[in-house]
Symmetry: C2
Subunit: 242 residues, 2 copies
DNA sequence: TGATGAATTAATGTATACAGAAAATGTAAA
DNA sequence: TTTACATTTTCTGTATACATTAATTCATCA
């Protein structure tokens, strides 16, 4: 359909992964010409992509022109996690209050089953599958609200740096009982859906907020693991640059 | 300081007011060349501004290229109002939980006093002053959270089309007891601040949500006032184009 | 008359050229 | 050695040219 790969899309994808790789976390200004040559496109679509990433919060503008990789404090990340819980909490509350589409609810159940499969063997969790299906689940939750605006907002906050639990998967060995926390997360998933089915908006909202706060636990462990870790966790390398 | 008026800033300001004027609400594609000539700048900064307004939700992209003025349903606007309450509610909850900066709190009180003055004579309310001071109040509320992220988000949602009570001021004569509702809003303002002072986060959050929902009442009246009103209310003319 | 399709027109997406500002480099003086 | 200033270079912000794609017009045929 509209799979027309525009240069801007390429620039956005490429630049995002470059930034996430941490290569430019040295807080210097991002050189436009060098980046555009490296990505194989001109400065125009690259600058568009930079604008988007500034809006996303991954980059920040410099007063004297241009932009650089945004630097986050621990508080920033905690706030992003909190915000994510608030937005998703609102989405599920609206879904419960207004009544969720049964077809979408069935789709949610299928995704939850696939997450179960990924978690089937607690010692050999299929992390790649979990990341994909978990993202699907959260996208579907926003969809259940029936509100286009909430979907867009949920999509936005899910991209906030380090707001997602998946961001911590690469450093799981540093986090005690990480696998167990994934199982707990899945229990929360089912509880949220159950609350929506029962039309209990307040409970659904509360559960979604608590669910988001699981990420805080992981963040705390990584933050106390010393500066060495910061440079090994892609997103977190930004934090150490503060 | 950084008052360097860049062409992009001019484009953003100019385009926003043009869109708000309703002149292009006919859902046709926005012509880039014509607009750039009219605003006295080239297509490059104009397209930047269009990107920003798309992100803001005021414009929407067309599959075949370009963009047009976004069309809103009543549900869209109600969702925007709800979201505003949720975001501001979170900001004041965090402010209460974390403890608000006394200096900022004092500034809030001064703004509230100025709102009182604007509302002093219920039959001759100073609407212009009210709009300005009310905006200041809500900006300061977000500031009280101490979170840069919450400030940015609050700023964003306050710009969501028709999410703000001020958007209805022009059509006040169509809304029964409109002036009285402004007085009620001011009472809510003080109650919110009081809850923050008392460190009662949950109450502050609840009050802020209810406060935002005042706008729903106004919206309902205008929605029932017939299609003629839609074309007279700048933002709402978008609604009738659906 | 209505519909289908070719041809023309217009408009978007992208590249690039250019001007002006910021940073870097180098030189001279204290 | 360090500071201040001048010079050079680089880079951003903006304008514009170009190409490709969408819209429109017009002509032909059923």
């Amino acid at each position: 359909m509209s799979d027309r790969k525009t240069q801007f899309d390429k620039a956005l994808l490429g630049l995002r992964s470059l930034v996430m790789s941490g290569e430019f976390s040295g807080s210097a200004r991002l050189p436009e010409v060098a980046l555009s040559e490296r990505l194989g496109l001109s400065r125009t679509p690259l600058r568009q992509a930079m604008d988007h990433l500034v809006a996303e919060g991954l980059l920040e503008r410099i007063e004297t022109g241009g932009c650089r990789v945004a630097r986050f404090t621990l508080d920033d990340i905690n706030d992003a996690i909190e915000l994510r819980g608030v937005i998703e909490g609102t989405a599920v509350r609206l879904a419960a209050e207004r009544g969720a589409d049964p077809v979408a609810l069935a789709e949610v159940e299928r995704v939850l089953d696939r997450i179960d499969i990924a978690l089937k063997h607690p010692d050999h969790i299929d992390f790649d599958a979990y990341i994909v299906e978990n993202a699907s689940f959260h996208r579907l939750l926003a969809h259940l609200s029936g509100s286009q605006l909430m979907q867009r907002e949920a999509d936005r906050v899910s991209r906030l740096p380090l707001a997602s639990p998946s961001a911590f998967l690469r450093e799981q060995e540093l986090i005690p009982d990480f696998n167990a926390s994934l199982l707990r997360a899945q229990h929360q998933h089912r509880a949220i859906v159950e609350a929506i089915r029962a039309r209990e908006g307040a409970r659904a909202e509360y559960l979604a907020r608590e669910h988001a706060r699981l990420a805080r636990r992981n963040l705390d462990y990584l933050a106390n693991a010393g500066p060495g870790v910061a440079t090994r966790v892609p997103g977190l390398s930004l934090l150490s640059a503060e």
